[in-house]
């Protein structure tokens, strides 16, 4: 067998945890050649990052333990090297970039210092390191590279930080670059730029790239081949096109079908007066204007999706509508009454009608309350809704509605999975029998397959109960299947407002077009077409 650049053979890694030994990866094998991009696709808990940690010698032992297998770099087994040799490999032969560049860059040193350290660790002189750092910063197109060297990580934007990470990783021209979810926390437009940069650099240096992701879109954009992982096992591998078009394993099929943005688009059906009418809502943070006069109407049972990148003001909008923060201008009439200026008494009554589901259910559920306490708290606060005798019955009913069972009542949030937790959060919102639920990135933190389930649930509730939704998201495909209207926001302003079909099929504003273009399609063919179209318009 010809030597691959990297070959992982029969790798098994165990972790000792509270609930016993977890087999993080079991007997997985894959390989990667120079100039090639291999994607490891998997959802949270699939063990997709474990093998890369093993390659980089980043597994803490204990609690981790490599129980079998070998990792060959150019035919040499990394596990047979001593610590010093492994250290020499790191950075020089194999480099790595991570999901969250802010926490992966040392906050207390300048990025220039960290760049130079990477170089100097492997024997490059100080002056040379300085020049090289500057060259790399220019190469990754950081604005004002000379001054950027003397800045600290927190002084950059997310995309720029990832560029810093990439520059640092490429400093010693490694043969292999491991990218662990490199674009997950980034806005879609920035994600596109970063991925493009990665591809470009790969072409230049001929390195092999191992990209670890949960996003089919990223796979279709950059990878040549893909391996799919589920619960520590490698369930499928092949070229991206093969796997997408002809998935063999049930799990792969499920993943592909769960990818959003392919269902029917809604046509708004609701009629009658608006229950919520927002006019010229404004919000300032100090001198910064977060909301610059936002207006829209919402009828009963309707869903408005608010889409925008970070800093667009979409979450601020949600927070002032729910009076978590005070608006600085404008009105928001809820059934005729301005909820921005409502008296505390009225506001208290309004709480019943207006509910919210937050992004991260791990944080929005009090960890020290049982499911029963969490849901029934609504009736403690608003006792007029339900007599105490009926609480237990009603909690069971609500849990049933969100797809959980009554026996879960006595458990605590941490005993549930992420998707289940979000269902509990939804059940809690439903307990007040609201007419409008604001979902602030309610599914963003969830795995793709779980996302789909939660969206289905919300859809069901909308149909059965006629609840209106304001659905806030940063991801356009996600809202395509669910919303009636789409409101695109940028820098505190509404850029475009229209029905789903209008916005998706016929975007008017360049920003909307750019957003749509930057969204990655899970179909490699579609994605390739998109990319070519994008390059065409760019040039």
């Amino acid at each position: 067998m010809a030597d691959h650049l990297l070959e992982v053979r029969n790798l098994s890694v165990d972790f000792h945890t509270a609930s016993g030994v977890v087999h993080a990866v079991r007997n997985i094998s894959y390989h990667l050649d120079r100039g090639e991009t291999l994607a490891i696709l998997g959802e949270s808990g699939s063990g997709k990052s474990v093998s890369s940690s093993a390659i980089m010698n980043l597994i803490d032992m204990p609690p981790g333990k490599i129980t079998s297998g070998e990792i060959l770099l150019d035919g040499k087994d990394l596990f047979k090297m001593n610590a010093e040799q492994r250290r020499e490999v790191n950075g020089r032969r194999i480099a790595m970039i991570f999901q969250d560049p802010l926490s992966h860059l040392n906050p207390v040193y300048t990025v220039g210092w960290q760049m130079r350290e990477a170089l100097k660790t492997h024997g490059i002189s100080s002056t040379q390191a300085q020049n090289e750092a500057l060259r790399l910063f220019k190469r990754v197109a950081l604005p004002d590279p000379e001054r950027a060297l003397d800045k600290y990580p927190h002084e950059f934007s997310g995309g720029q930080r990832q560029r810093v990470m990439i520059a640092m990783a490429l400093a010693l021209k490694p043969d292999l670059l491991i990218a662990d979810e490199p674009t997950t926390a980034l806005d879609v437009t920035v994600q596109a730029e970063v991925l493009a940069l990665l591809k470009e650099l790969q072409r230049e240096t001929g390195m092999g790239v191992l990209i670890i992701t949960h996003d089919l879109g990223v796979v279709s954009e950059v990878a040549d081949r893909v391996v799919v992982m589920e619960k520590g096992q490698l369930v499928e591998s092949g070229t991206v096109r093969e796997v997408y078009h002809n998935p063999q394993h049930a799990y792969t099929k499920k993943l592909i079908s769960a990818a959003p943005g392919k269902g029917e688009m809604h046509e708004p059906e609701a009629s009658g007066d608006a229950i919520l009418s927002v006019k010229d809502a404004r919000k300032f943070y100090g001198g910064f204007e977060a909301l610059k006069g936002v207006s829209f109407d919402l009828k009963a049972g309707e869903t408005v999706a608010v889409v925008g990148e970070s800093g667009s003001g979409k979450s601020t909008l949600a927070r002032i509508l729910l009076r978590l923060e005070e608006a600085d201008g404008g009105t928001a009439k809820w059934k005729g009454k301005d909820l921005f200026t409502m008296s505390p008494g009225d506001l208290f009554k309004l709480r019943r009608d207006l509910q919210m589901v937050f992004q991260d259910p791990t944080q929005s559920l009090n960890p020290r309350m049982t499911v029963y306490q969490l849901i029934s708290e609504a009736w403690v606060i608003h006792p007029e809704i339900l007599p105490k005798a009926k609480w237990r019955e009603r909690v069971a009913e609500l849990l049933g509605q969100v797809g959980l069972s009554a026996e879960h009542m006595g458990r605590y949030p941490h005993q549930f999975s992420g998707g289940q937790r979000q269902r509990i959060a939804i059940a809690r919102a439903l307990a007040l029998e609201p007419q409008l639920i604001v979902c602030d990135e309610a599914v963003s933190a969830l795995d793709v397959s779980v996302q789909a389930q939660v969206i289905t649930l919300l859809d069901k509730l909308r149909k059965e109960m006629g609840i209106a939704f304001i659905f806030i998201a940063h991801d356009l495909p996600l809202v395509r299947d669910f919303a009636d209207y789409v409101m695109v926001m940028q820098k505190g302003e509404v850029v475009e407002f229209g029905t789903v079909a209008q916005v998706f099929d016929n975007p008017q504003k360049p920003y909307t077009q750019a957003l749509l273009a930057a969204s990655l399609d899970p179909d490699p063919d579609v994605q390739a077409a998109n990319r070519n179209a994008r390059l065409a318009t760019a040039s």
Partner: protein
């Protein structure tokens, strides 16, 4: 344990089984042998504190000027003489046990009083308006920089020297610790999503403070209280040592050290044993506090649970 392993492989829509809280804590305590010893020792100390005075008071106060400064380790004598006797010929072993009650009561009282007042003020300071918060914080600063000796002299002069007043003195000086910790935690927790969720439901400030924030703060406070118990014990002994704390004929360990000080060169045991009692108790409290810090922290808990029964 076998069950728990299986649970990670059970189908998605079920929920991890979990033993009851008490069983869990017991298991985690078992896992940390130092903490276990500490806990056992502390239980012993508490039992002694409760039954000591009624059981041994007579022995502990019986003077015998002819047997003064009797050396320890005379095992042919009665058991209570094994640690030696003090300057009035009173056996040290019973005296240390009887002193346990005062020592523990002062420390426990001071910790409880300061924790309750400090936590309440901290909750208010963390949740109330900026102005109220500032007033409370400045008050904490004042107490912080008030020399504790002066507090002691003032309170004990005006109110007289008694166990209760000594508790009060020590409690006053410890209030800022709880106040600051609680406030800092409240400021952090009130930003958390579940607090916002409660507000969205219309929960009152009182409900949010006591139902949502306080339970999250309590583990931190428990750990702090354990640690503070040790600190207060040392502070009490220091005050007694300086002669402005508990006064004879009441006894505490600190006072016993102080009284034995003048015999150091020829009867070291007078000061040594009570000193050892203090060290062992504070050490146990520190060990237990370290254990609590981990045991009450869901993120770190696995460290203990992992160490549990080895053949799991």
């Amino acid at each position: 344990m076998t069950m728990a392993i299986q649970s990670t492989h059970t189908p998605k829509e079920t929920v991890a089984e979990e033993p009851s809280a008490i069983v869990r804590m017991a298991r985690m305590l078992w896992a940390d042998k130092f903490a276990l010893c500490a806990a056992i020792f502390l239980v012993f100390v508490i039992v002694m504190a409760i039954i000591g005075p009624t059981w041994l008071d007579e022995l502990a106060t019986k003077q015998n000027l002819r047997g003064r400064n009797l050396a320890p380790f005379m095992f042919d004598r009665e058991w209570y003489m094994w640690l030696g006797a003090d300057a009035l010929g009173r056996p040290l072993w019973p005296r240390i046990i009887v002193a346990t009650q005062n020592t523990m009561m002062v420390a426990a009282g001071a910790v409880v009083i300061s924790a309750i007042i400090g936590t309440l003020l901290g909750l208010i300071a963390g949740f109330a308006s900026e102005r109220v918060s500032q007033v409370i914080m400045r008050l904490a600063d004042v107490i912080m920089s008030f020399p504790s000796l002066l507090v002691a002299v003032i309170v004990l002069y005006i109110l007289g020297s008694s166990i209760l007043n000594l508790m009060l003195v020590l409690a006053i000086t410890r209030i800022p610790v709880y106040l600051r910790t609680t406030r800092a935690e409240v400021l952090e927790i009130r930003q958390r999503m579940f607090v916002q969720a409660a507000r969205v439901m219309g929960a009152s400030s009182k409900r949010i403070l006591f139902r949502h924030i306080l339970p999250v703060v309590i583990p931190t406070l428990t750990t702090l209280m354990t640690l503070d118990f040790a600190y207060v014990m040392l502070a009490e002994s220091a005050l007694s040592f300086l002669g402005i704390g508990i006064q004879p004929p009441e006894i505490t360990w600190g006072l016993m050290i102080s009284q034995g000080r003048q015999y150091l060169t020829n009867a070291w045991w007078l000061s040594f044993w009570p000193g050892l009692a203090i060290i062992l108790t504070t050490l146990s409290l520190n060990l237990l506090s370290n254990w609590l810090r981990i045991a009450l922290d869901p993120v770190q808990r696995w460290r203990l649970e992992m160490k549990g029964p080895k053949h799991g």
